[in-house]
């Protein structure tokens, strides 16, 4: 087995955002289920939160290629 250990770093960096994005969308689904009329407002907030939480995984991906 051979390969690039930087990719493992990317895998590790994806854990946190993965959990975070799951929590964000869980909260979004909860909110919409309780108050369907708030969907439009919640949607942009959820996507914003998703984008911010995702940043760390993207860093990991890019750095995996930078430090190879």
């Amino acid at each position: 087995m051979q390969g690039n250990i930087a990719i493992l770093g990317y895998g590790l960096s994806a854990i946190g955002p993965g959990v975070g994005i799951g929590l964000i969308f869980a909260a979004y689904i909860n909110g919409v289920a309780r108050q369907p009329e708030a969907r439009g407002m919640l949607q942009s907030i959820a996507i914003l939160g998703f984008a911010l939480a995702e940043a760390l995984a993207i860093f990991g991906l890019v750095l995996a290629f930078v430090f190879k």
């Binding site: 087995m1 439009g40 996507i47 984008a51 890019v62």
Partner: protein
């Protein structure tokens, strides 16, 4: 970054599987070096021409009862104007920024969708230069309007929320400066780049890997190769979704940063 299971199998059957690398994304068509005309550059020019043609054609004879094209254009425009600009920036001065946000959204959307549309099939934003250029525009805009509104002294002062204990102010100031001047533009550019790059890499891996398994593999690998192709189809549809979402997110974040500079704390 090599697919070693496939690689070792391939060496057993003669000839190796070359897994896609970052080098596959640099495709000069004319010349080489810093002034090369590359494939993403051609795609970008194509997209600009296409967008200009589409927007002019659908809005030149705008009617009260819209044609189909005008309906689509108005739908996208309304989505950015009301769904992003007005909701995020606020109804007072969002109109100034609608042209910027709209052109960014359309440009990114078309360029991203070119990543899965067959004759082109190259996401421009998978070359880091293009997201950096777009981010530079957003970066200049949100700092410029913030500084013009209150002057540089108040702008930097307002990075730190009021009412903090004195000893903590330098740390918060440092963190906020990093956020405003480094993290925000960096993540804005890298998010778009990373999503497009990783998505296209995935498609490349599944399609070239599937091809290799079908052509060079034994019976079992041929079936796996067919599965790989099927997954590539599914991922293409998923990619189309991601591409739309990333264009939306870029516009949304640009609007958020602009709104932050216009907000009263600043």
């Amino acid at each position: 970054m090599s697919l070693n299971v496939l690689g070792s199998l391939a060496t057993a059957t003669g000839g190796g599987y070359e897994s896609p690398t970052t080098a596959d994304f640099y495709q000069p068509l004319l010349n080489d070096g810093p002034f090369a005309i590359t494939r993403p550059a051609v795609v970008m020019m194509l997209s600009v021409g296409l967008i200009a043609w589409w927007l002019i054609a659908t809005t030149k004879r705008a009617a009260i009862i819209p044609s189909k094209g005008q309906w689509v254009t108005e739908g996208i425009y309304g989505f950015i104007r009301n769904g992003v600009a007005r909701d995020i920036i606020g109804s007072k001065d969002f109109l100034r920024f609608v042209p910027l946000l709209f052109s960014m959204f359309v440009l990114i959307l078309v360029n991203n969708l070119f990543g899965v549309i067959p004759p082109v099939q190259f996401p421009t934003m998978s070359r880091i230069g293009f997201p950096i250029a777009l981010t530079a525009v957003v970066y200049v805009v949100y700092h410029f309007i913030g500084i013009r509104r209150v002057g540089p002294r108040v702008y930097f002062k307002s990075l730190v929320p009021a009412g903090l204990p004195g000893w903590i102010v330098p740390f918060i100031f440092f963190l906020e400066v990093i956020t405003f001047f480094v993290t925000r533009p960096l993540t804005l550019a890298l998010r778009l780049f990373g999503n497009m790059f990783a998505g296209h890499m995935l498609l490349l891996l599944f399609i070239t890997g599937g091809e290799f398994m079908v052509i060079h593999g034994g019976f079992g690998l041929k079936i796996a190769g067919a599965g790989s192709f099927a997954l590539a189809f599914v991922l293409t549809i998923f990619e189309a979704l991601i591409e739309f979402l990333q264009a939306y997110i870029f516009t949304l974040l640009a609007a958020t940063y602009i709104a932050g500079s216009l907000a009263d704390e600043h």
